[in-house]
Symmetry: C2
Subunit: 105 residues, 2 copies
């Protein structure tokens, strides 16, 4: 996830997931990788960008709100979200945003 996402022309959607971790262990890394692989198979998935220092930021890009909803409610993803609340994250925020314009250098 050290690459920049190659997204289409706007409009499309971004899910901005910001988190403070309480415990980053092997199971976190493993599950993160599994969720990334799963997300990539979802209809409407456009890309992801991620970095963590103390704060973790993962931005995933989606075609529309419907594809975001389907990913949020994916069975394995729901299970991972549950473990996230119980174990890995002390706090997090999710913001769903419509990308209206973009530019690159």
């Amino acid at each position: 996830m050290t690459q920049m996402a190659n997204t289409p022309k706007p409009p499309y959607y971004a899910v901005i997931f910001t988190s403070l971790a309480s415990e980053i262990d092997d199971s976190y890394v493993e599950t993160s990788n599994q969720m990334l692989a799963l997300a990539q198979q979802m209809s409407g998935y456009l890309g992801v960008e991620s970095a963590r220092q103390d704060l973790g930021i993962t931005v995933s890009y989606w075609r529309d709100l419907e594809s975001i909803k389907q990913w949020k409610n994916h069975k394995e993803h729901l299970a991972a979200q549950q473990i996230g609340k119980q174990k890995w994250y002390s706090s997090y925020a999710v913001r769903i945003a419509k990308v209206e314009r973009d530019y690159e250098f």
Copy 2:
């Protein structure tokens, strides 16, 4: 910048700045801190979240498109953007997105 942003109820705007750095030196850190301090003084500024591993992601939050425009065109910020292109970044992307909903844990 290791804190999560305390943003108001949507709608508001997010500027998602993703970058690959070619050279992170003292002047980069100094300018980043200066720009953060400046941004916080701008009308419409709502918060910022930032993390860098290989990929750098900074998400700043704004009241509306007008406040984003004013920050983009701020004289000292324009100068920093110029140095960024010349020196610090090998590539970057800027996405301007309207946050429609959010939730926290």
